[in-house]
């Protein structure tokens, strides 16, 4: 075991993946010599060679298209998109191609890509360094979408993703790359070495894709979330002193609905928290499925706490970010209802 930040855990996972198979390679903008703008691939080119950790031209559509071709020809590319806000030029390759190769060719062709991208705000990055596009991917059948909230999960889920023969989108909440952020911007972020899930085994291990994690047991209401918001949720619940069950879904698709419904059937109440915009955000899907399966157990309407339906603003970052106070208010409303 070693104390690792999320960046270090991801780096360690990719190191092990490159070591495990010469068919695995990394490609992306600035990932090679430099080691990535967030340092996730630091040292890997030096260790494995410039042909295994490839600095690519700035062309996301090109990167994904080329990686698909490599995947079809027996390689296992790990693609880094520098910011989730910049995957859009690759949308056609991801949606029309990557996600459907297997289906349209009757299983003849497929490409086992893992596409990593940092997501989320809270770094004063403005509208082009802050987006949370998970719902866009969730709407595309054929893709799996994963989002870890701790270094331990990040490593295990990334190794599982790389191993998976399906194409995967691996979203990395950049606000918690280097420390735990609980939504209180006036408080100094705490290092991952202060957090139990900052202890990461150095050996190879995987965590199951499609399995949620109950991060806090509780009886009065279920709070469903993922990514950075897991830590905002935990701090909010702590502060309000409520008996809340917090579930980190960890995988957007396939969604571990059984764990969610099991909890809501117990608590009878549910709040969903995410940073992405509200309308057609992934919370809408979670809410619909819970309503379908837990209607007779619900004692209050399901609430969603989300980013507003605007682009991520620079000045009003903290009014946009669904922080602790909005979470507490929603929990209280849900607890008082019915």
């Amino acid at each position: 075991m070693a104390a690792m930040s999320m960046v270090q855990a991801l780096n360690n996972a990719m190191d092990l993946a490159l070591e495990k198979s010469p068919r695995t390679l990394i490609m992306g903008e600035d990932v090679g010599f430099f080691g990535g703008v967030f340092r996730c691939t630091e040292g890997l080119q030096q260790k494995y060679g410039a042909h295994r950790v490839i600095d690519t031209p700035i062309a996301e559509g090109g990167i994904v298209g080329v990686a698909i071709g490599m995947g079809v020809n027996g390689l296992r590319p790990i693609v880094e998109i520098q910011f989730a806000d910049y995957f859009y030029p690759a949308m056609d390759q991801i949606v029309s191609e990557l996600a459907r190769l297997r289906y349209r060719s009757g299983g003849e062709f497929w490409a086992p890509l893992t596409i990593r991208m940092p997501c989320g705000g809270g770094i004063y990055g403005g509208q082009t360094h802050s987006q949370s596009p998970e719902a866009l991917f969730a709407h595309v059948c054929g893709l799996k979408t994963v989002i870890p909230s701790t270094p331990y999960d990040a490593k295990g889920l990334l190794l599982a993703s790389i191993d998976d023969d399906n194409p995967l989108i691996f979203l990395e909440p950049k606000r918690i790359y280097n420390g735990v952020f609980d939504g209180d911007r006036d408080k100094a972020a705490t290092g991952w070495d202060q957090h139990p899930a900052g202890e990461v085994p150095e050996n190879y291990y995987t965590l199951p894709i499609g399995k949620a994690n109950i991060v806090r047991q509780g009886n009065d209401t279920t709070l469903i979330t993922y990514g950075t918001m897991v830590h905002v949720a935990a701090a909010a619940v702590e502060k309000a002193g409520l008996d809340v069950e917090i579930i980190d879904i960890r995988t957007i698709v396939p969604l571990d609905i059984d764990t969610l419904t099991g909890s809501v059937q117990k608590t009878g109440r549910c709040v969903i928290l995410h940073e992405a915009t509200r309308t057609s955000g992934f919370g809408a899907e979670i809410s619909a499925q819970i309503q379908e399966q837990c209607f007779w157990h619900l004692q209050a309407p399901i609430e969603r706490v989300t980013g507003w339906d605007t682009p991520y603003p620079h000045l009003f970052e903290w009014d946009y970010f669904p922080g602790q106070s909005r979470v507490i208010q929603a929990l209280q409303r849900v607890l008082e209802a019915g």
Partner: protein, 412 residues
Amino acid sequence: MHHNRPETRIHIPQSPTRPGDKPDFSHIKIPPVEAGRRPAIDTPAHEMDDLAFGLVRVLDDQHQACGEWKPHIAAQKLRDGLRYMLQVRLFDDHMFRLQRQGSLTFYLKCAGEEAVAVAAAQALRSGDMLFPTYRQQGLLVARGLPMVDMMCECLSNTHDMNKGRQLPVLYSWAEGGFFTISGNLGTQVPQAVGWAMAAAYKNNDDIAATWIGDGSTAEGDFHYALTFASVYKAPVIINVVNNQWAISTFQAVAGGENSTFASRGHGFGIPGLRVDGNDFLAVYAATQWAAERARAQAGPTVIELYTYRAEGHSTSDDPSKYRPSHDYDAWPLGDPVERLKQHLIGLGEWSEAQHESLIEKIRSDVSAAYAEAEQYGTLDKGPRLSLSTMFEDVYKDMPDHLQKQLKQAQEG
């Protein structure tokens, strides 16, 4: 890691120098000024192919203007150019320091590339539309946007033209013919082509000019733009600013190893000029030539501005991790400010003393502008835009669901 591993056949471009190495630009061939030819603007494109592989130059090693590309510019206009470039540089220095002190969330300089924007702005007409990237702040300065307005954008304050929505340096200035800067690379290039097509459609002779970095030419948008510009002979100038770097990757990663960026249009029949981007007069002359071509309905031009990113990519970057230090001192094409200054001194139109006092004057103007900008608020102090601005302009009129969200946000 300077060499490919023997177990692979894939070619991976390798930077000739890395941290710890001595900067080495010996591979760069600089043709003499006299070698440059300036064809008539109606010359068929394929008869000008050589221009995409040469280097348009005007200032020789003694800082004298010569050769066919030598433009006719009044001394006063040159002094203005020098003043704008100095203003950009000192403004950048000031804002960079403020970011380091915590007053700004981000900043990005254009050090070493001032001529690319300033000379182009001076060669274009005020009705011509500009579609820049984040590194052409010189366009704003040369077109007269007050520094305080630029600072207000960087501070997201009550006078910010973007109403607090964008990162510092992503300016927008409709009145000045300056299109809103995108954070997403390359998108502006087809848009510039479309703007130019609309000008032609409306039968007026305004043109569009756009800028894109060497690295970003890899984006599909750049290639769409070349196709449309070629098919419709759009009156547009497509400037590729080859500052040799795209964050940590050197220009070969964008395909600069195999051909020049100026030649990118050749397959479409678009002529390309490769220009010394640190030679103010050469940038001016090349822009003027391409603008004349566009206005005469002779079609688009690609201009590669050969220059060097003298400093880090932005305040988020650390170039010592991927390139030699003091590399800019070794750049064989010198510094654009210094070269224009020496040229003017040679003409007897400028002096060291005037230069020093101009620097003093600009420094105090920059400080005064910042003192004023701060009065309109900063990210965490002083006056602040109203919360409703977060919800405005998502649509022309605020729909019901956003009005409700605004109310919720106001209630906290």
